[in-house]
């Protein structure tokens, strides 16, 4: 036990002495969060729209006013006929044109239904999608208002779109959980694998093996400091996300940290596993980056939704721990779900963690070959 304590002490000393790595370790979450939070936005601000109002009545004026006053849109111009549509889009400034049909208000009150056409410039499909959803949301809002006022009896205005949990479509809300997964993978798996392979590369492992230290002591001793660092990083991200980006946290902190530690353990086990199949730091880094980080970013649903991937890739995504972790963390943070809704994902995470821990323990070499 004494020898284990000595080993852990040494690990902490080495980590805290390596100032450059330390700056990266603690600076990275901050920089990444700010980058993802500010630069990689999916939401829109002041998108230019044009309105073709063929009805020109109280309702369409009202609705136009609603759209224009939203932060998302800025009313660029009014059109007078359909021929102008293409012309306006060609100028490239206007991203969306809203067309109200003739006798809009009249149809709405008499028939209970009126049509509004939303035309978007789909050269940037993502933007077009978002702009369209925004418009849909605003129109629906307005319809509901009319309903309350008793002016409209039936369905109202098409289309009906509703976005829950992230009604402003704030992308930072989605990125924070993903970012936590990426940072944990990076710190836990990458740093652990590098730190163990460094011992091999420098020849320290030779002496450590020829000592009473058991392999399990070496592994835990290597892993423990990074577990602590990872938890500190998670806290940093949560605090930043809360105070800078006002990301909500609706669920239980205890459950969240429980799941986070489970994911960290999985990542650490992966790191130990990588270090047991390689002998130098560079290979360990390449494997960690290409084999762990890339799938975590691309296949976990962090940036691209899993549902829109082709079937074979969806299969692959099931094997990625970050996918399950993301589902769990998004549910806890944004929906406030409890374990009763997340037990299956949690069990899968436990399974993956156990699998890799056993594997890395088995693979850890008590010899040099």
């Amino acid at each position: 036990m004494n020898s284990f304590k000595g080993f852990v002490t040494k690990e902490f000393k080495q980590i805290f002495r390596d100032k450059r790595t330390l700056v990266v370790l603690f600076g990275m979450p901050v920089i990444m969060l700010i980058l993802f939070g500010f630069a990689l936005r999916n939401e829109i601000n002041n998108a230019q729209i044009a309105v073709l109002d063929l009805s020109k009545d109280a309702v369409t004026r009202d609705l136009t006013q609603k759209l224009a006053s939203s932060e998302a849109f800025q009313l660029n111009t009014y059109l007078h006929n359909y021929d102008e549509v293409e012309e306006v889009f060609k100028s490239g400034v206007v991203k969306e044109i809203v067309v109200f049909e003739k006798k809009f208000a009249q149809r709405l009150t008499r028939e209970g239904i009126a049509n509004v056409q939303v035309i978007t410039d789909a050269t940037d499909p993502n933007l077009a999608n978002i702009v369209q959803s925004y418009t849909g949301a605003i129109i629906r809002d307005y319809t509901q208002e009319l309903n309350y006022q008793g002016k409209v009896l039936e369905q109202g205005i098409q289309p009906v779109i509703k976005m829950m949990y992230n009604p402003e479509l704030k992308s930072v809300n989605l990125f924070v959980p993903g970012l936590i997964a990426v940072i944990l993978m990076l710190v836990s798996a990458l740093m652990t694998s590098i730190s163990i392979t460094r011992e091999k590369e420098m020849g320290n492992m030779e002496i450590l093996l020829v000592s009473p230290l058991k392999p399990i002591h070496i592994i835990i001793g290597k892993v423990l400091p990074y577990l602590v660092l990872s938890v500190i990083n998670v806290i940093t991200i949560l605090v930043l996300a809360h105070y800078i980006f006002e990301v909500p946290f609706k669920g239980s902190y205890a459950l969240f940290f429980g799941e986070a530690i489970l994911f960290i353990l999985t990542a650490l086990a992966l790191g130990v596993f990588i270090s047991s199949v390689t002998n130098n730091q560079q290979t360990a880094m390449m494997i960690s980056l290409a084999g762990l980080l890339l799938p975590t970013v691309l296949l976990s649903g962090f940036i691209f939704p899993v549902e829109s991937m082709p079937a074979p890739l969806q299969m692959v995504s099931h094997a990625i721990p970050a996918k399950w972790f993301l589902i769990v963390v998004r549910s806890i943070m944004l929906k406030g779900s409890g374990i009763e809704f997340l037990w299956m994902e949690t069990l899968i995470l436990v399974g993956i963690a156990m699998f890799f821990m056993t594997l890395s323990l088995k693979k850890f070499n008590v010899r040099l070959q």
Partner: protein
């Protein structure tokens, strides 16, 4: 005497490279045993098998009466091992390295201070310096101190004096003699032939094979033929002319001298001098000399492996 290391029929291959070929030997209690051989002779592989870090392909080895494959867990705590590359933590200070290895072996610096004192006391003025900033000789002293801190029964030192200056090398061997006096058995390897005389017994090893095992004195006395040392400013021509000589047996450059043996054994040095004079080597110095380990090593190496 008690053998503490028994090796029989040991072979180890790395792919197509035969690192060790059918090695058998015994090392006794409280011996200072040296493995002498050039780089790539198989010394490190042999040491790694003895320290249980590698498993032999064929044959068996026992250390302190225990098998290196099946009893590796019991052997490891009893060994003090210094690998060929400096493998202490360069970003830890001298004292921290010592404390770390002491704690890993479940002891403290104070507990075994007497044993490491002769060596560690030289390092104590620099105890707050990072190990990476020490000189080569200091590094090796620190590595030895760390290998000793748990009072091992057997010290295994892989090329401890490689890359160390001549004075530090001498000091290092003096320390090993002190440790031997404390009852510790020591196995060391070195590529420096002149260090063979520091050992009780040496094994000459080359290309994975043991060429000879004996005391340094006996090894040189096995050198049967009279040995001549020749010296001339034009050493290259001297070597060529000697090799061309009809009774030439062996010709090896040794520092400023060229060592020569003749097929006929003892020769008339004037005759050789005449031959050289005629062939453009004017007034060479020729004298009969005592052979050393290196001469023996050269004579034992396979002829095709000899090179200038």
């Amino acid at each position: 005497m008690n053998p503490i290391v028994q090796i029989s029929g040991l072979s180890k291959n790395f792919g197509k490279v035969e690192a060790l070929k059918d090695v058998s030997l015994e090392i006794f209690d409280n011996e200072l045993f040296g493995f002498i051989g050039p780089d790539g002779a198989g010394k490190t592989t042999l040491f790694r098998i003895l320290t249980t870090l590698l498993v032999p392909d064929i044959g068996s080895a026992s250390v302190l009466g225990m098998d290196v494959v099946s009893d590796y867990k019991k052997i490891r705590p009893l060994l003090g091992y210094m690998p060929g590359t400096f493998s202490l933590y360069q970003d830890l200070s001298v004292e921290e390295n010592m404390m770390f290895f002491a704690s890993v072996f479940g002891t403290t610096i104070e507990e075994n201070y007497d044993l490491v004192k002769p060596i560690y006391s030289q390092l104590e003025p620099f105890k707050d310096r990072y190990a990476g900033n020490l000189s080569g000789g200091m590094k090796q002293k620190l590595a030895l101190s760390c290998a000793l801190i748990h009072k091992p029964e057997l010290l295994i030192l892989d090329e401890p004096t490689t890359g160390v200056d001549a004075v530090s090398r001498k000091e290092f061997w003096e320390m090993l003699h002190v440790l031997k006096g404390e009852g510790i058995s020591i196995i060391a390897s070195t590529p420096y032939m002149d260090e063979a005389n520091q050992c009780d017994r040496v094994a000459l090893i080359d290309k994975g094979e043991i060429l000879n095992i004996n005391t340094p004195k006996n090894i040189t006395s096995e050198f049967k033929k009279p040995l001549y040392g020749l010296k001339h400013p034009n050493k290259y021509e001297l070597i060529n002319r000697l090799r061309d000589f009809e009774y030439s047996d062996s010709v090896h450059p040794f520092g400023e001298f060229v060592h020569y043996t003749d097929e006929r054994g003892k020769i008339d040095t004037d005759e050789l001098k005449n031959y050289l004079n005629v062939n453009g080597i004017r007034e060479p110095i020729i004298k009969q000399i005592d052979p050393d380990i290196e001469d023996m090593f050269m004579s034992l190496m396979k002829p095709e492996e000899m090179d200038v």
